[in-house]
Symmetry: C2
Subunit: 233 residues, 2 copies
């Protein structure tokens, strides 16, 4: 009865923790629940998501579920194949390139043209670095990945623009999808903790230009590694 597609398997095994999900409207809560499942990797890229099945799992109506899914489609977390269903997005090599193109521009610009001396924002950046170092020490690799995300979010926050922060949040969600296509989480994220420290230190010293250059190299290397991994399929 329940159709199982090649890339996924049934959805029934998912916890879809309804409890911890926040959001004011029902559709919003449903979207948050599914987004979390996706970015946490419990729903793998390529998984098909029939609205009727998800609606039942989350205890909402099909209409509400469809509204939530439309939302996630605009966020690029899901993709819609008209008349064929909605799937967890499967970023390809061009997506990787474009996400890095956008990140390079936004993050470098945030360093170069962000508020020059905002102690509280720089402290937040430092906190993200520390978080990553502690996670490495503890050997908690998912936490390392999270800390990395917090670092880049804090970097863009230097620009002081809610709109840019929101855009960055989207790009980072897409990054998690990209990572979930290649599961060597540990090897990938660990070396960047040290580079985060270096970028942060340069910003603390007020040398924005050097920080920007360091970050540019950093992003180039990360992209190159991902592209290589993606080339092997």
């Amino acid at each position: 009865m329940t159709v199982v597609d090649p890339a996924s398997g049934s959805l029934a095994h998912l916890g879809l923790a309804r409890s911890a999900v926040t959001g004011s409207t029902t559709a919003e809560r449903a979207a948050n629940a599914v987004r979390e499942e996706v970015v946490e990797g419990r729903l793998r890229p390529g998984t098909r998501l029939p609205d009727t099945e998800l609606a039942e799992l989350l205890g909402v109506s099909r209409n509400t579920m469809r509204e939530a899914m439309s939302q996630l489609v605009t966020e690029r977390v899901l993709v819609r194949h008209p008349n064929r269903g909605v799937y967890v997005a499967t970023p390809n090599i061009d997506d990787v390139r474009d996400v890095y193109r956008a990140r390079r521009l936004i993050e470098r610009a945030a360093i170069r043209w962000g508020e020059d001396a905002d102690p509280v924002r720089i402290a937040a950046l430092r906190a993200a670095v520390t978080e990553g170092q502690k996670a490495v020490a503890a050997g908690d690799w998912p936490a390392v990945a999270s800390a990395n995300q917090h670092f880049h979010r804090a970097l863009v926050a230097l620009a002081g623009s809610p709109r840019l922060e929101q855009q960055m949040a989207l790009l980072l969600a897409e990054m998690r999808l990209i990572f979930h296509r290649m599961p060597e989480v540990r090897e990938f994220h660990e070396p960047f903790v040290g580079r985060n420290d270096r970028v942060c230190a340069l910003i603390e010293q007020g040398d924005r230009e050097a920080a920007e250059q360091e970050l540019a190299d950093y992003l180039d290397e990360a992209e190159a590694q991902l592209l290589e991994a993606y080339a092997k399929l």
Copy 2:
């Protein structure tokens, strides 16, 4: 029966040209129709949009209409006041500041770090400049405003990133909303046609740094003018 709210008046007078509207799904078409009405200024900022009324006007069901409106809310074209309705967004002075903050970062970065010599993209930029000059010569001020938008879109296109272009499209849609709160379209847009030419010329000469600086001044001045106009309410 039809409630008329202070800021708007009834919606019945709108053409809501169903014919020219494209889009694959019904909700998409409905969203496009409403977005067009808003950015073209036929639906003024602050106008209340009852779903039932809009659904009837567009000939779609209420469910579909609500999905379309949710989409426009995420685009910041509309805002939702929970349990109180959906309204055409009314950007305030902080929104103006933030939109310009984001634009300054993205547009300057696109100039500085865009593909250095992409003749076709630079030609598109030049075309937008010419379009503006022709519009000025013809005294067609709405066309001047459109050409300006095309110019800035072409600027971001230098970066070669679809994701950034999409983000820019959102920011430009918001700009139109900002303009519609102060109707001196002519006085505002005309002086910038010359500056577009200067920026474009500098890029054509390969002097990215000067172009970037010129654009930074340009955006600062535009923002200052808008903030002044907004301060007067």
